[in-house]
Symmetry: C2
Subunit: 428 residues, 2 copies
Amino acid sequence: MNAEIIAVGTELLLGDILNTNAQYLAGQLAALGFTVHYQTVVGDNAGRLAEVLRAAKTRTQLLVLCGGLGPTEDDLTKQTAAQVFGDVLIEDAQELARIEAHFAALGRPMTPNNRRQALIPAHGGKFTNDNGTAPGILLRDGEKQAILLPGPPSELVPMFEKRVLPYLRTLSDCVLVSRWLHVIGIPESQLDMQLADRLNAANPTTALYAKTGEVHIRVTARAETEADAAAMADDAAKALQDELGDAVYSADGSDLETTVVHLLKAAGAHLALAESCTGGLLAQRITSVSGASDVFECGIVSYSEKIKQRLLGVKAETLAQHTVYSAPVAAQMARGAATLAGAEYGVGITGIAGPTGGLPGIPVGTVFIAVHSPQGTFVRRAVWTNRSRQDVRIRAATAALDMLRRAVLGLLQPDAVPFCFENEEARA
Amino acid sequence: MNAEIIAVGTELLLGDILNTNAQYLAGQLAALGFTVHYQTVVGDNAGRLAEVLRAAKTRTQLLVLCGGLGPTEDDLTKQTAAQVFGDVLIEDAQELARIEAHFAALGRPMTPNNRRQALIPAHGGKFTNDNGTAPGILLRDGEKQAILLPGPPSELVPMFEKRVLPYLRTLSDCVLVSRWLHVIGIPESQLDMQLADRLNAANPTTALYAKTGEVHIRVTARAETEADAAAMADDAAKALQDELGDAVYSADGSDLETTVVHLLKAAGAHLALAESCTGGLLAQRITSVSGASDVFECGIVSYSEKIKQRLLGVKAETLAQHTVYSAPVAAQMARGAATLAGAEYGVGITGIAGPTGGLPGIPVGTVFIAVHSPQGTFVRRAVWTNRSRQDVRIRAATAALDMLRRAVLGLLQPDAVPFCFENEEARA
């Protein structure tokens, strides 16, 4: 079955807001097995909206609209779409009661134009709005259907997931189930070659999504029943996970910081951080996880050598001999943070995020990352050239999280040499 | 003159990527004075693309396309648009030489399909691509024109700003100039009432954009010449700034952290931070500013009371008497951080970001923010209820930055009472 997406709103045409609804709806419709050939944005103008709707209705079975369902004169999506679908709007007592109750709860008077939101099509249907006053609308004309959704994502997304999705599943002749693997340590270009057969397969499909410092893989299976599709998707995800091994850090959509916090928690371990060039970004990512306080003790963001020496016990002679941008300083920072907090794990990060400040032999983008653990201290040197300051910081924090993950899992092997160096090529 | 935007790419229809190009182009076209009535997304399909182009060409004078200019078989925007505009493509020697030089510099062989990128319309024009191989294309058919741009934003944006913008200025019969004011401390709903006359005015126009914890105001003036429009926009921005006073923290587009770093630098002052519930977010925002190392000394992210006492000198009896979520603890953290680092300014933040952990009388969303300065220590209590953990953290860091700004500017007056409390209502 084919579908198209029509977003209504002058603010989209002016570039004032990003059309995140279109991306959300496109992803949802694709996952349901609908084929989407067009997306359109049109302003709050009845004539142009009607023209767009007539063209879409001619070529497409299901139109999904968003925006323009509010109480003001500008909001004319419902009236216009009802006309194009040959329906009329009538006041729905239940919706009117909901809207009146909403205003009563706020202690505000309900202005007369809010009654417009209680209008629903005589021959269509409605989708209840649990997060706002405008109900979603269903219109039908023979084989053609339209679903009208409110514009605010905080209303659209829950309405779609709770009310619209079950309805659309009844229209679709197949079920698609997706699984996500999050991968770190293998570049996208290498995955692209290694997984070429899977990436070209028709069912299940496999797709790569490059993120800063990691790659997400989506596996989607299509079948007649949800159980069959889920089994196919699970099998394919399992086979991929076996192939990629330790590089897969999560198979349930969890991000890297959540994965690391849960691993530390399961190990009953605690963490302390010493950051220089990442400037608190690693602490911020760790503490963004609800429940991080069970494992996170403290983080020191030290821009001055004085603080590195005084709080973290970095030695003056090490600074003099190796400079502050060095593996030994990163290792001392990691150990110093762990000691200061009495934590089993410590991370030290020192480097040059840029855009200026490079030294001979230490170009901008060089970062030393150390993890102190009960098994020893591991240091990695990474060089991200031609990257923005923010990009170097994100990649360094991500690399530190991955080293922590591998340390807790016992995947970093103690080495004869005290420091393990690694070069990371900048990728396009 | 009217215009419309057509983005070409199956990945947009699948919801794999967000259509940021459409928002960028919409904003640019609006600023140039073009009226945009439609945006369309269509896949890499010659038949459907031609249909969309014919419909757009009938109703609109200027079509701006993006995507589908690459070397592969999928990339058929140029061929299809040339047909619709009645033009033919011929190989351009200069473009071919550029593409050959590009591959030579990479040390990679140029595959034959890359020659397709050197094709340009016989009767149209081209826009040089400084950041990739595909040139931009201009097509003309009588009064109708089309501009074809490459899809990657890293190529599209510089090409638009350097090559396309000057060309479009020659088509537009007016010039629009915008100025931005960034405002903190006045809610959007209050600005909406206070500035009602300006918000309804036709020229210059004034628009409000609510951001987390702050509001951005755009003033746009339209005139026949750039000088006239700039003078009108400057006058309107100046009048607004006079009306809003200290609440305007920047009039040049700078964000709050950049404004604060520059103020501290100008004052020759230094800064140290002690964060609890914001978990390093404030340090990360301050250090994201290039040049922050001139003012930023260190940040302590302390989740444990032990660290608060040992490093920051928070007193055990204060913790016992007031709990860790209190104004006296925030003040001791701010002073402790400043003392530790030998800095003139210190910030202390302690509170409950949630989603759980509320105490009797201290609901989730309560945050105490202290600024220690040469003029004294100031503490503010804010309560953000029904907000996500991340939202509370962002608002707390933003509020701390604003207190720092006001402290450096001497806008926080020493008070007879040691702590100044303030309640912040949650806004919808």
